[in-house]
Symmetry: C3
Subunit: 372 residues, 3 copies
Amino acid sequence: MKKDVRSVISILDLTREEIESLMDTADEIERDPEAFSEVCRHKQLATLFFEPSTRTRLSFESAMLSLGGSVLGFSSANSSSASKGESVADTFEVVSNYADIIATRHPKEGAAYVGALHSSVPVVNAGDGGHFHPTQTLADLLTIRRKKGRLNDLCIGICGDLKYGRTVHSLIEAMQRYSGISYVLISPEELRLPGYMTDKLKAEGAEYVETADLEASMPKLDVLYMTRIQKERFTDEAEYQRLKDSYILTPDKLSSAKKDLCIMHPLPRVNEISVKVDEDERACYFYETYCGKQMRMALIMFLLGLTKDGAREVPKAPAKMEPKKVLRDVISCKNPACISSTEQELPQVFELADEEKHEYRCIYCDSLVRYQ
Amino acid sequence: MKKDVRSVISILDLTREEIESLMDTADEIERDPEAFSEVCRHKQLATLFFEPSTRTRLSFESAMLSLGGSVLGFSSANSSSASKGESVADTFEVVSNYADIIATRHPKEGAAYVGALHSSVPVVNAGDGGHFHPTQTLADLLTIRRKKGRLNDLCIGICGDLKYGRTVHSLIEAMQRYSGISYVLISPEELRLPGYMTDKLKAEGAEYVETADLEASMPKLDVLYMTRIQKERFTDEAEYQRLKDSYILTPDKLSSAKKDLCIMHPLPRVNEISVKVDEDERACYFYETYCGKQMRMALIMFLLGLTKDGAREVPKAPAKMEPKKVLRDVISCKNPACISSTEQELPQVFELADEEKHEYRCIYCDSLVRYQ
Amino acid sequence: MKKDVRSVISILDLTREEIESLMDTADEIERDPEAFSEVCRHKQLATLFFEPSTRTRLSFESAMLSLGGSVLGFSSANSSSASKGESVADTFEVVSNYADIIATRHPKEGAAYVGALHSSVPVVNAGDGGHFHPTQTLADLLTIRRKKGRLNDLCIGICGDLKYGRTVHSLIEAMQRYSGISYVLISPEELRLPGYMTDKLKAEGAEYVETADLEASMPKLDVLYMTRIQKERFTDEAEYQRLKDSYILTPDKLSSAKKDLCIMHPLPRVNEISVKVDEDERACYFYETYCGKQMRMALIMFLLGLTKDGAREVPKAPAKMEPKKVLRDVISCKNPACISSTEQELPQVFELADEEKHEYRCIYCDSLVRYQ
């Protein structure tokens, strides 16, 4: 975020108005893709994927190519200098000398943020560990808006791994900007939404219920957001085996659902939605990837300050808010998934989160630490 | 093969007339490549390579780039969501939302066919296990037509691994559409052409001999098609070591060959053709890769309905023939190399192959199973 | 180097005049990048990276894309047919049928040279083991010329691994073409510049000192070239651990340095330059990558015979000098890092290097062998 460059690390880095404008652009792209086919001519997107993610990477690449731009990058850490011990910071310092915009995925939380701190071009977070994945949320929002015709007054069921599912957390944060939203949070006990998320929902007066029963919840839902129970989130293999099949969506479970239910999934799925559901008209998960590409096209244009009618102002990073109390190299982050656990010479920076509770938040991974 | 999209899984998915038209286009490309340099502008090829194959992938990519299109994809399963357990079907559902045409390689037989069933854009099989590799055959045919001036009245020697060599089987199937073709099948006993292939040759009245002696066969050949004895096809390492050097082509073995012999090889070679043969004017194996790129250019144009003078009709998938008797989820395929052994929730489908023998053919890998 | 195609394997394959012309082009590119954005339209660069190197590969790719060309290739041997045993020679035979120019990296010394021998298009060596890396040297030279305003009358400190650092050797060879250059060679005893290099400096009358003390050397330097002490160069892990921190550049060590010192590093760094130095205005190592891209653009244009005003003559390979005495398949190279140790059927070729000493030089890796 050198030179006030605008990057998107979390969905909250975009205002509700900006997101709606991106959706309008996506709709324009759908109506007339040819009109956008040269918008990014001579522009380069770097896809820096420190861990593989086919769909996300290909979606970004296809988005850039459909705008007439070009693409370079790597698709796993093996193919990168990271295997020689290069830091994330240095990689971004270098690549921002080559490309006009960067999309990045990394297994560590906060990695995209560290990258953005060292980039002279916009950075889009394409997933940083279990932390954020804002362009998935953009795809989700467009899918809902197109399928339901609105983003308010919806009953949204979210099913599966609500504890570690970063797409779930981002979707809720994005939907909280709309009115009339209620949530049905469907998960096994062990994978319930984290306390800080339910605390936040309570504080914001949101309507939600927590349940373990997918079928009983079905009739009232307008949207059903299924998620994968990821093996890599479990330390206990047996526990994973016991739970993984608990929340499988099958045609018979859908018999009590609304006729216009919108069934979503961030993909890839393993078996949490039966292939037999694919033929159901309410299945929207492949359609989400179609929406996702168009939102990524819109986002790239936005960050580069380009429209189908030529250049416009490049968006600036928002003015920093009144600086909160900051601890610099006083305490260190204990989250083993935080980028600060591996990145060399990275300063340990915490911002005051809750004065009363003496809680500080790691600026990289958002973990809370008590300190007084 | 949604919406009757035309895909090419086997060489027999193209008629003889279509192949000849592709060769004519390839000849035009050779004469005036510049005339084709913008034919695929704004079109995207996805190369979905679930196992590595440099030459084939680069040939497809270079073909698309030489047509003014662009390319995205992955070059091994490690770099793809397949490592998270995503099915082939889902990958194609998603990627056909991004790209205009897909070329795919996969270690399992029938994988490209499964992909095509779930793709809304044309799929080209770039190799599915030991099963099919139609664009290699297109390269072979163009090489023979250019070097010999004809595709009929030829004595074709095929040497090496005739049992597992998919390129061998496809070449024979393609050549059987021409008249005056005779075959000299040169291999160790253990790697002879499979019985169903020789049965077919017999049934079609083809002239062929089987021999283990490369040198004795040499004088009568117009074409010598060498193949690699692949280590990965052997379960017994010692057996591989004993056989691998048996059929090495060296300059002295060529002393009795015709002056205009066309020496071919699908590449990569290990040591089955001595490097010393490369300087021989009859060595055509690198020339094949040159032909292969042009045939892939022609095929991409054909499937996208594009010509150097603009769009023409996109080819439709041929009307399904009178449906044969089908078994659906009655028996299952026993071939461990079949995609049905790994793809989740894939229906087990067999078509009646031989009523008298009660034989059914797996629609994915073409294995025969008896059932009554 | 078929058909007298011009390739760049070592920095000495370019004359001083050619390098200066490349730097002039790079300066033009910096002034007006748009003027070059279509120079390589319809041209393809293949990046054949048999081992990963993110920055170098992305720099080449970005250079080609910024010239309006396109890119294909692979980023590690895993993704290539090399894993099936294909030779380097065959890979280049094939790929030069697809692309217009090739950039290659390989772990073996001499691999790029073998590739060039089998390529019908220009080959640029992007690193062959510990041997050569000419485009890094081009980046270094442009950085020095831009930062210091000259390439003569400079005191150049080179610090770290001078024994195995290929970029060090190339930089010295390139600087030896200029007058008034003195060197301060700073390294632990074990990693001093090889004897043949110091012999050469002596023979050419160059001024140099060898020292183990970075701080004491600082005040007189105009340029400080830091290098990484690479783990992979050590057979003894303990020795590596003892040495690796010995030559770490920190802000306090810079206190005695000139105000206009140019601090360079070929990257990636591990910890040999503290991150705290990055903010120092004298830190030029990220700027080097910016220069490197422009030099690669200039080099690609040069080798393809293209200018911003259209095509010019494609450069020819220089006429072979009076053939020295050559030994062909008489002795074999003992260097385990030489490409001749792995490439199949590669002739063992040595040229007479020193008649008196009876020394012959391997044409691939430049190792010297005595033979009489």
